[in-house]
Amino acid sequence: MLAWTIYLSFAGALAEALLPKGRAGLARGLALVVALAGFVIAVLGFAGGMGQGLVTIVDVPWVPAMGIHFLLAADGISRVLVLLTGLAAVAGVLFSWNIELRTNEFFAFFLALIGGVYGVFLSFDLFLLFVFYEIAIVPKYFLIAIWGSTRREYAAMKLAIYSFAGSAMVLVVLLAAYTTSGSHSTGLIALGNAGLPVSFQMWAFPVTFVGFGILAGLWPFHTWAPTGHVAAPTAASMLLAGVVMKLGAYGCLRVAMALFPHGMDPWGFTFVGIGSWRDVFAVLALVGIVYGALVALVQTDFKFVIGYSSVSHMGFVLLGLMTLNQIGVTGAVLQMFSHGVLAGLLFAIVGRMVYDRTHTRQLAELERMHLGKRLPFAAWAFVIAGMASMGLPGFSGFVAELQVLIGAWTAKPWWTAVAGVGIVVGVAYTWRALQKALFSDVLPTPEEHPSTGWPKFAAITWPEVAGFSLLTAASLVVGLYPKILLDAIEPAVKTLLAGGGQ
């Protein structure tokens, strides 16, 4: 049943592309229907898959001569991420309700991207996974280049080139693994059981991890992320941070770590305390956590703050993966979900609720606008989202980061110490942005303070309230009752870490 998320999204994209121009309302309605349908299927699939392990959904020979199958399957991790994609899609449509320029094309690219993302999370054939992974690249480019803002063409091209460079690395490994394994199959399970030589895994693992890691915001390959997020239209930033970065992290877990586990074995020597690829990537993740947080602390553009915070939060995901223990990896997957929801929420508030009304994102200008009084809904929405993002108990971010930190402590205590610095700085930058943008007491200059009172901003619309409620509810539910997702994630992580296929 979950396969229909993919088919529906692509069918929706095609239908949007064929819609007559100028029927913006129709295009919006159709997009919402398709996204909702996908979400409902994702929820049903999630509920129906409870307590089950890996379930094959579709298995059709695609290229029999090369052993390539159209193989869709889902385990707990996939189901959680499909659920996240469904949420992000619905919220994305709701927060792009005000797109008037080439509306049908916008939603065509949007739904094509969503379809590709669903496809990646459900593919259990490496070739198929790669196909969906690349399908997701092109719509991103057009979404940013056409509907974006600040330096959009530059940011879009940078994102496309970074993504394509990453996928080129993955493709090389895919080709090499396919020919080396001799199993005459590109199925993830077949490749995992093929017993690839350790020497092969030793180079394949880092190449694949970096290839996917680029999209997950792995430092120092993260630089597409802030520029891309900032330039993208609201819905695209939500998707970029919400699900596209998860594609990268998911690839690191499902492909790099599951297929080439021996790539993380010790090298046999250590250099400044680093003795394996696992250490290398853990250190890069830690640098990402701290660096992202520090850079977010000094941004003057509201959206850049959120952009760099994404790099920092995705660092937790990658660190959790590199702990290689049950709790750490589980935390990483939960953090993917949590960050997907919260980053989407933050971008929605900054991009849609604030920027579309104030037409500036400069903190220095927002300071004088008294948004806390003039846009109370946006202000309190940001308070809630910011609290959730900095890891307040009760929200999903807390559970996820806590698990990652415990896992990191079990692996190497000093990882936790460094990551803890990131959390503290995280509180600082969220607080700073909150204070400056929304609750500043800087008085407006006289000419900006007409005696008649401030001009009114357009009221908050129902799609914004709906989208906000949806995402906040998701974060709260997971934060208060994490078992709902953990029951799905834990067994899947257990089998994945145990090796022997998935």
């Binding site: 592309a17 020979p61 695609w62 290229v63 029999p64 001569a65 090369m66 094309e105 070739f127 790669f130 196909v131 690349e134 399908i135 690249i137 092109v138 480019y141 057009f142 280049a145 056409i146 063409e153 879009a156 091209m157 496309a160 080139i161 394509f164 460079a165 996928s167 080129a168 493709l171 090389v172 080709l175 090499a176 396919y178 020919t179 080396t180």
Partner: protein, 528 residues
């Protein structure tokens, strides 16, 4: 050899020649007073009909072959049939695009020359003998020179044709020089005998001559496929030639030339002629050690090692130069020319690591056929834009999505396919080709070359996106709709649909190509 045999084997070529003459007679004899569009339509449709008949002969031919004495001259079936069918289909598409092109009043002659050049392509796809190869190549090349110069009012067309002709003449001289050495070393013009001779002990001391001869041959053929460093003609020709002629050069001529390279490659690897000389060959082989695995054994002497080395060097150079030079182009035609050089580089990589059996040949044919299809569409679209705006610069594509959304969608599909984005056919072709390369030889060098190729395709996305950016992203200077005539639109939509469907269902074309190969596992044939 008797003439009945000759006729049976060359039925497709004959059909094309008859069609060419028929076109000339009808156009010059009966339609002198008719309107240009009528003449173009009649000539093109006659040509398409000729292609159809020839295609029917190709597909029903079975496995005949033509020998002269003991020497094989032409084969039918296998590589030849696939390439020939591809040539005919692509020629028909070119002719259909010609109907609305209107760059010349001499449509009858144009169609006639296209058909004769296509005949040359059919001949070299099937040829097994140096002399037949040369005749076919010249037939094809002379046709292409004429087609390039066909826009008589355009100085660019004349200039590019002259350049093409001079380069072509020189490369033909290289080729002949190489052929003469091969003949001198082996005493035969037959490819099989030449390769067998290369295994003979008597030629051990002559390896520099072998290498020299093969470099010369590679130079001559490298010119045809526009491989670096023999690529200099391509940008000018692609830019100056009339759009249908450029499409023909970019597709049909490429398919034919690569079919010829496959012939040379497979013969170099399979010096077994099961029908007649198997014992003799295998005995010679035993004295060198029988090849038992599907691995390209580097051999210091003979045909294989220098051939593969030369091709690998040309492949790497073409990928680098083609992709990097394309980054700087502002003319879309020149961009396609450099991208063609890059694509030739990928294919040459497949030829450098050529497999026993049919794996590599399949992958290469798949690549060239689908690439040919995509470029014909691309040139068709460029032709339409050029007629509307008078320019092939990137700027001409500004706002295309407003001026003609369907055409913009076609351009989107075709260019993304050229960049190798799934699920379009260009991606599958690349994957298949590189997988074939690595399955032949998975060593550090081949892996590095494949990594270079994959990395360079990532670079190529940048310049393809430059065109798409203008079509979709940047603001239009001119909102006036671009009209496309129904026939052209239909062909373009057909091509785009083909690119999408073949990409989504790659097994269809792959299975069709494989069906032309006898299921012989060359490697496991017991000696004797």
């Amino acid at each position: 050899m008797n003439y009945a045999d000759l006729f049976r084997v060359t039925l497709p070529e004959t059909a094309l020649e008859v069609a060419a003459l028929l076109v000339l007679v009808v156009d010059l004899g009966f339609l002198r007073k008719a309107a240009l569009t009528v003449r173009a339509a009649v000539a093109a449709l006659l040509g398409v009909a000729g292609c159809g008949v020839a295609l029917w002969f190709v597909l029903t031919a079975g496995g005949a072959s033509l020998s002269f004495g003991n020497d094989l001259l032409l084969t039918v079936g296998g590589t030849a049939a696939v390439a020939q069918a591809g040539i005919l289909v692509l020629t028909a598409l070119t002719l259909l695009l010609l109907i609305d092109a209107a760059f010349t009043r001499h449509v009858g002659e144009f169609v006639g020359v296209v058909l004769m050049a296509a005949t040359g392509g059919l001949v070299i796809s099937a040829a097994q003998d140096l002399l037949v190869i040369f005749v076919g190549l010249e037939l094809l090349s002379l046709g292409l020179y004429i087609l390039t110069a066909f826009a008589k009012k355009s100085a660019k067309s004349a200039e590019s044709a002259l350049k093409y002709y001079l380069f072509g003449g020189m490369s033909a001289a290289f080729l002949l020089f190489g052929f003469s050495y091969l003949y001198g070393l082996s005493g035969s013009t037959n490819l099989h005998k030449i390769v067998i001779a290369s295994y003979a002990l008597s030629t051990v001391g002559a390896w520099p001559l072998w290498a020299l001869a093969l470099v010369m041959v590679a130079a001559g053929l490298g010119f045809k496929v526009a491989a670096v460093p023999f690529h200099l003609w391509a940008p000018d020709t692609y830019e100056g030639a009339p759009a249908p002629a450029a499409a023909f050069i970019a597709s049909v001529s490429k398919v034919a030339s690569f079919a010829l390279l496959i012939t040379v490659g497979s013969i170099a690897l399979n010096p077994f002629d099961f029908s007649r000389t198997a014992h003799g060959v295998l005995r010679v082989q035993l004295s060198f050690g029988v090849i038992t695995s599907e691995v390209l054994t580097p051999r210091p002497l003979g045909f294989l090692a220098p051939w593969a080395t030369v091709l690998a060097v040309m492949a790497a150079a073409s990928m680098l130069v083609g992709n990097l030079a394309a980054l700087a182009q502002i003319s879309v035609r020149r961009l396609l020319a450099y991208s063609a050089i890059a694509h030739a580089g990928y294919i040459l990589l497949g030829l450098a690591y050529f497999s026993y059996g049919s794996r590599s040949a399949n992958a290469i044919l798949y690549y060239t056929l689908t690439y040919g299809l995509t470029t014909i569409g691309a040139f068709g679209a460029i032709g339409v834009v050029e007629r509307a705006t008078g320019s092939d610069r990137m700027g001409a594509f500004l706002g295309l999505h407003k001026r003609n959304p369907v055409l913009a969608a076609v351009v989107l599909v075709l260019f993304l396919s050229l960049a190798g984005i799934p699920p379009l056919v260009g991606f599958w072709a690349k994957f298949n080709l590189f997988a074939a390369v690595l399955s032949v030889h998975a060593g550090p060098v081949s892996l590095a070359l494949v990594a270079l190729a994959v990395g360079m395709s990532a670079v190529s996305l940048y310049y393809y996106l430059q065109v798409l950016k203008r079509a979709y992203v940047m603001p239009a200077v001119n909102d006036e709709p671009i009209r496309v005539r129904p026939v052209t639109m239909l062909v373009l939509l057909l091509v785009a649909a083909g690119v999408v469907l073949l990409g989504c269902f790659p097994a269809v074309l792959q299975g069709w190509i494989a069906s032309f190969y006898p299921i012989i596992d060359y490697v496991r044939m017991p000696p004797g």
